[in-house]
Subunit: 430 residues, 2 copies
Amino acid sequence: MALSTQGYKGTRDFYPPDKRLQKFIFGKLREVVESFGYQEYDAPLLESLEIYAAKSGQEIVSEQLYSFEDKKGRQLAIRPEMTPSVSRMVAARRQELPYPLRWYSIPNLWRYERPQAGRLREHWQLNVDIFGVEGLAADFEIILIADTILKSFNSTDDMYSIKINSRRLMAKLLEAEGIKGQQQPIAMRYLDNYKKLAGEKERNDFLKKATASAEQAGKIYGAIEAVAGKSGSLQAAVQNSQDSRALRELLSMLKDSGVNAVIDPFVSRGLDYYTDIVFEVFDNHKENNRSMFGGGRYDGLVGLFGVEPLPTVGFGMGDVTLQRFLDLHGLLPNLKPETDAVVILIGDVFKAASEMVAELRGLGARLAVDSSGRKLDVQLRSAVKSGVPFVIFLGSEEIAGSNFKLRNLKSGEEMVLATRQAADTLNSRR
Amino acid sequence: MALSTQGYKGTRDFYPPDKRLQKFIFGKLREVVESFGYQEYDAPLLESLEIYAAKSGQEIVSEQLYSFEDKKGRQLAIRPEMTPSVSRMVAARRQELPYPLRWYSIPNLWRYERPQAGRLREHWQLNVDIFGVEGLAADFEIILIADTILKSFNSTDDMYSIKINSRRLMAKLLEAEGIKGQQQPIAMRYLDNYKKLAGEKERNDFLKKATASAEQAGKIYGAIEAVAGKSGSLQAAVQNSQDSRALRELLSMLKDSGVNAVIDPFVSRGLDYYTDIVFEVFDNHKENNRSMFGGGRYDGLVGLFGVEPLPTVGFGMGDVTLQRFLDLHGLLPNLKPETDAVVILIGDVFKAASEMVAELRGLGARLAVDSSGRKLDVQLRSAVKSGVPFVIFLGSEEIAGSNFKLRNLKSGEEMVLATRQAADTLNSRR
């Protein structure tokens, strides 16, 4: 029985054009975040299960985690997100690290869920975090970076919306209606899903499932309706609250830096560890009108590792979502292959040709030698198929003259060039 | 109870200086293999267990694999090596891809084994493969690339040894002594371990474990001794064989390109899929005198996926081993942080400073603003600790003049510069 060529469900095979696009995107991400003084770190793909159980939220841990036991009975998980890992690493060197600490990473992450447009089981996610800043300057910077990244791909303000909210403010409003302790994160997840729930029945069903109690469900349902009712709408309740000063100040700082954002009471992020300001970025494209990514402040996570707590703000941006956004808005570039030319050998010249090719490589040229021994026309067809801009013919004549015969595969133009000129010509077409 | 800050056994946390070193090394690897016309691909971290069961060798599958079932009962494995994945991907597009196909990847791999110097549970591995070339030109190129990589880090010929062998030739010599079929891969693994087995008893024990039969063990043991006995040594048996022509020709091609290699009958690679020429690179350092990495020809693997077989040669080079080699030989560079300067704000200038900082970033500067609100001397100490080459002071005076006050943290020198000059100064110190 032949093995299947199909990869595992919800994953992607990256053929060279796909990988090239990913590298282009990651290159841009690195460029932007490094311009803000962030440095790259990484953590292991497998972590102890307990670091997710603590704060990642019930949905992830009980339903979406790839977890298993190793032979020594250790409970492990393939990381579904990077925040617990980075918190662990910072906690391990809490005293030695310089603050404000600015770190980023582009880890490979896994979630066990039904694959859909913009959501896969395996993805990569840019994680950007700033540690050690209590004030709004950190929240401002993190949202500014998210905006700068989108603009670095030439997207414009009309293509996306940035929505901000404060979980601390929401918690106060809920508390005034009697929602406290463990009910609060459930209420936050309810708000996070609110707009996807079609009506009263669906909303109640969601809450019953989340609380496992009809009474609790009714209490949360009623509290949210009460908050909204008193001010006319949730939006108004938030806007009019005395505690919305920070949100309004943040909006103004962002505006000064050319970032459009609005307050939205339904933005609360699914994860339980957020403590105050949260934000989400929505795609405005009519085929993809949904939240793309987000982040916020999570001042409590580092402290869970037994060290002094550390104020932290960060966000995560998934590659599948970002690429879908760029694709829908026509922002993906055409990228050239990493190879400048295929070298076709004419006659039995392998040894002498190898020396000349090595010399040209030494000047920065990226050359694939066709060593298949096939007929010339077959070699030429393969070269064209591979998408390289040039072929180079090397026969006894070229070798005798230390020349390279270049053919531009687009124009058909042929040039016989010395080594340095050949290198310059190849470099100029990148 | 606080969570542990310890990562999972056999893994590494990459703090920014560690990650920087890894990026430097991977950058060199990419540069060299791309100069030979190789293009990067990638595959999912999780694969169906069966693709390893087919050919990776019993030791990996039964003892060293992280494998588990998903909720639908699919048998999955975290990849321990990349070769089955790349074979699957090539097979899936067997007809469309242009040959010779040159692909590389630097995947994250996992093996469940006792961590030791140069061997960890999580590592990265450069994989370089050429598909579609039957002749020695492919074997030559793959070994030349391995050698070029080591030299690109400034290592010299005396630091490492390249040893080559032919599994096809070994198979012929064994067959002449009655070793056939399933006994052959066991004999190959025996040769691969031969030098680590102290004497006759250990050798027999290894074979008894591998064959699960004292009779079979004795047969293989006797056959190897017989091959060696007839020519005086295994080395002589290989050298004198009429079938060693290809090995000798390969040595000569390598020599012409400045690559030192020798024939070694004990090089056979642990993996069962190799079909002919194999090679290994050994560290000559007295503290690390061992095989670092290797590869060879595996013409049968793509065909296991139900398509026409494809001649293939490749190698894998692990990052832990490579880094250890570079470290022992004093070849690791000192790398500068990705951040050019920490910006220290003097007084309440956040808004105006943000604009100037954005402008300087636009010219390529990588700037971290200290937004912690701490005292000046604390901010300065943090900047020094972070290892950046410069701090920039921005107060009302600098802002009024649209200037940046740069302090070189090494020399102590201070300069007041306009935006363009400041960018040039920061860029020149990278």
